[in-house]
C-alpha cells in the first residue's frame, strides 16, 4: 500500500496496464518525453518505449480518430486530451464514431478506448481550462463516463476503464490532482497524505464502473456529488454538523440508480452538486431520476448547486465556483422545508 496523489495513482494505473498488456498504448499532446502537462504520463515512455507512449500532433480529432482505428485493430488505446475544454474537435469522433461503432456494425467492430482528460476549475484557468463538459457525454448512448474524486478510485476506475470493451471517457478533476479541496481557496492547500483514499494498493485492482461510493452516511439529507464537489460537500456538511449521505457517483453513465434511490428514500431530501453550468448539466438528469424514483419520499424539492450559466470567468473564479456558501445555502434550504 502506497501513499499516492492522484497524478501518481493515474500513472500507476497506466503503468500496471502497459506492463500487463502490450495492446495498451498511451498517446496525446506532450504525453511522451515530457510526460504530460500534469505529469500523469511521466516516465512511461522511458520505461515502455517510444512506440507505447508518444506525442501526437495537436489535433484532438486526429487523436481520437487513430484511437478508433487502433481499437478496431485489436489495441486498447488510452489517448489523453490535454484539457477537457479542448475535446470538442474530437466530439464527432467520440459521439458519432467511438460510441456508435459497435451498434452500427452490430458488434462486428468495437472501440475499447479510454479517453483521459482533466476537468474542472479552481486553478485560475479561465474559460478554456476549467470546463466540466460531462453532460455533453452522458447524453451519448454507447459511451461511458467516469470521474474519480480520489487516488484509490482513480487507479481502480482507470484500470477498469482500460479493460472495458466499450469506450470510456475518464474525467480527472484537476483541482484534486494534488489533494482534496474544501472549496475554500484561502484555506491552506491539503495534499493526499493522511487521507485514507490516498492509500493506493500496488499492482492490479479495479473499481467497477457504475457503482457509487458512500463517502459519509447520515439520515438528514442525501448529497449527490462527483469530482471536486465531493470534498466540498464533505467539508460543508462537517462544518454544518449535518448528517448526510454523501454519494460520490464516480460513474455518471452508467449511473448507480440503486444507491441513489436507497439513500433518497431514506433521507427524503436531496442536494445535487456539480461545477458545470447549470442548464442541461448532469444535475438535471439526477434531479429527474430522483423525482421519478423517490417522488413519494421527497420532503422538499431536490436542489441543484452548480456553476452559473456563463462561461467560466477568470478573475471571478471563486464567484463562479459552487463553493461552500452556495452549498450551505442549498443544504439549509432543503433541510428547512416542510
Amino acid at each position: 500500500m502506497a501513499q499516492l496523489n492522484m497524478i501518481e495513482a493515474i500513472r500507476d494505473a497506466l503503468d500496471v496496464k502497459m506492463s500487463q498488456d502490450s495492446d495498451v498504448l498511451v498517446f496525446g499532446e506532450d504525453v511522451g518525453y515530457f510526460g504530460g502537462v500534469f505529469r500523469c504520463t511521466a516516465g512511461l515512455q522511458e520505461k515502455h518505449g517510444l512506440h507505447r507512449c508518444f506525442d501526437t500532433p495537436i489535433s484532438e480529432g486526429g487523436i481520437i480518430g487513430i484511437a478508433v482505428g487502433m481499437a478496431a485493430n485489436g489495441l486498447r488505446p488510452v489517448p489523453e486530451i490535454q484539457f477537457a475544454d479542448y475535446i470538442y474537435p474530437a466530439y464527432d469522433q467520440i459521439a458519432s464514431e467511438a460510441a456508435r461503432l459497435r451498434y452500427r456494425s452490430n458488434g462486428d467492430f468495437t472501440a475499447p478506448i479510454t479517453i483521459r482528460t482533466p476537468v474542472g476549475g479552481g486553478i485560475y484557468g479561465g474559460t478554456t481550462h476549467s470546463q466540466s463538459p460531462e453532460a455533453l457525454f452522458t447524453h451519448i448512448a454507447g459511451l461511458k463516463t467516469v470521474i474519480p474524486s480520489n487516488p484509490y478510485d482513480a487507479k481502480g476506475l482507470l484500470i477498469a476503464a482500460i479493460e472495458d470493451n466499450d469506450p470510456v471517457l475518464f474525467l480527472e478533476p484537476k483541482r484534486l490532482y494534488n489533494g482534496p479541496f474544501s472549496g475554500d481557496p484561502h484555506a491552506p492547500a491539503k495534499n493526499w497524505t493522511g487521507n485514507e483514499l490516498g492509500e493506493v494498493p500496488e499492482g492490479h485492482y479495479t473499481v467497477e464502473l457504475g457503482e457509487a461510493r458512500m463517502i459519509s452516511e447520515g439520515d438528514d439529507v442525501t448529497i449527490l456529488a462527483y469530482g471536486t464537489m465531493v470534498w466540498v460537500a464533505k467539508a460543508v456538511t462537517e462544518e454544518m454538523g449535518v448528517n448526510a449521505d454523501i454519494l460520490d457517483l464516480r460513474s455518471l453513465l452508467p449511473y448507480d440508480l440503486e444507491s441513489i434511490t436507497n439513500s433518497v428514500n431514506k433521507t427524503g431530501r436531496c442536494v445535487i452538486l456539480h461545477e458545470a453550468t447549470r442548464t442541461s448539466g448532469f444535475g438535471a438528469e439526477l434531479s429527474a431520476l430522483v423525482q421519478e424514483h423517490c417522488f413519494y419520499a421527497l420532503e422538499a424539492p431536490v436542489q441543484r448547486v452548480t456553476g452559473w450559466d456563463t462561461p467560466y470567468p477568470h478573475a471571478q473564479e471563486w464567484a463562479y465556483f459552487p463553493g461552500p456558501k452556495r452549498v450551505r445555502l442549498a443544504i439549509s434550504s432543503v433541510m428547512e422545508t416542510a
Binding site: 500532433p57 486526429g62 487513430i66 487502433m70 478496431a72 485493430n73 451498434y103 456494425s105 454507447g142 466499450d166
Partner: protein
Amino acid sequence: MARKPSNNRSRLHVPEPPFRPGDTPDYSHISVPADHTPVRPDPLCDPHETSEHALKLIRVLRFSGEAVGDWKPDLSAEQLRNALKSLMMTRAMDERMFNMQRQGKMSFYMKSTGEEAVSVGHAMALNNSDMIFPTYRQQGILIHRGASIKEMMCQCLSNAGDPLDGKSIPVLYSFKKHGFFSISGNLGTQLIQGVGWGMASAYKNSDEIASVFTGEGATAEGDFHYALNFASTYRAPCIINVVNNQWAISSFQGIAAGEGETFAARGTGYGLATLRVDGNDLLAVYAATKWAAERARNGGGATLIEHFTYRKAGHSTSDDPTKYRPENEPEVWPFGDPIERLKIHLIHLKEWDEARHEALAEECKTRIREIYKDAESMGNLAGDTQVNDYTMFEQVYEHAPDHIDAQRKMFEAESD
C-alpha cells in the same frame, strides 16, 4: 428549370460548374492524356519524385483496347475476366437495388455506376486481410472479395437476413471477415481511423495495411487533414484514396477543391507520395494500388491516390441529377465507361467477344435477380422487415447497463 444566376455581384468568388441543366456540355477542353502518363518510379522513392504524378494522370488502357506504358500490369486473361465479372455484377446489383427501392422495398439506395473500376481494380491489388475503410460507393470491393451478395442485399432490405439486424440504413455495410470496415454515415470520419488501423498494424509488426476512401467532396472535412497529417508523421502503412467522381450530391468538384489544384496534390505538402489515376481504367487503378501497397508494406508510408472518374447516376435514390447538371453529361464525359473499356481490352487481347459479353451480362442480371428474390423473401420495408424490434437494445454496449434494461422493459409494456 432555374437558369444560372447572372453571376457574382461582388468580389466574393464563388466557383460554378461549367455546365448546368439546359447547357450543352462540352468537355473538349479536358484533354484525355494518351501518351504523357508519368513514369513509374520505384515504390520506395522519395515522395518528391511523385509530385508531378499528382498533376498528371496514370493511364494504361487506350480507348482502342491496347494496354500501354510503364504502369501496364501483368494480369492474366483469367484475372481480367474475373475483374470484368465483378464490375458487371456490381452494376447489375446496383441496377436491381435501385429499382427495388423505387418499389418501396427499402428506404434508400446508392449506386456506384461508372466508378466500379475504382473498387474492383483496387480490391484486386490488395490482400483480403488488408482492411478497407470504404465509403458507400465501394460495394465493388465486397463483391470482388466474394462477400455474400445475399447478405449485402439483406442489409439493404433491413430484414431478417441482415447481419446488422436492421440497425443501419442501406448500403452502410460492415464485413469484418472480408476486411471491410463498418461504413459510417458521417463523411470523412473513417479516413483517420484507417490511418490508426495502419499504425496499429505497424506497431504489431504485422504486414497488413489499411486502405481508406473518401469522395472528393468529403476531403473538405477535418478528418482528411488528420489522415494526411498523422499518416505523414507516423509513416502509417496505408493508402488514402480520393474518388473524384466530379460531384458531391449537387456540388461540382470545384467547390471542394477550389479551381487551382488536383486532389492528389493535397498530399504533396504533407510529404506523402501522390498518384493520380484514370479511375475508369481498371488496369491503371490496379497498377497504382499495387505500387502504393508495395510502398506501404515496405515501410515507405502512405500514398494519396486520386481516382479520377465520373458519377453516372444520381447521388442516391433521394435526388434527381438532371436538376443540377445536364442530362447527357454522363454520356459526353470523355473518359468512357469502365466496363466498356475493359471489355474492349479483353477483345483486343482476343480473350473475349461480344457474344460472351452479352451472355455474361445476362448471367449477372439473372443471378442478381435470383439472389434478390431469395433475399427479399426474408423481409422488406414495404411489407414486414421481420427484424426483431428488441435487437435495437443490443450492442449499444457489450453488456446492457441497468438503464437500458429498464427501457427494454418499458418497451415491453408499451408493446403489449
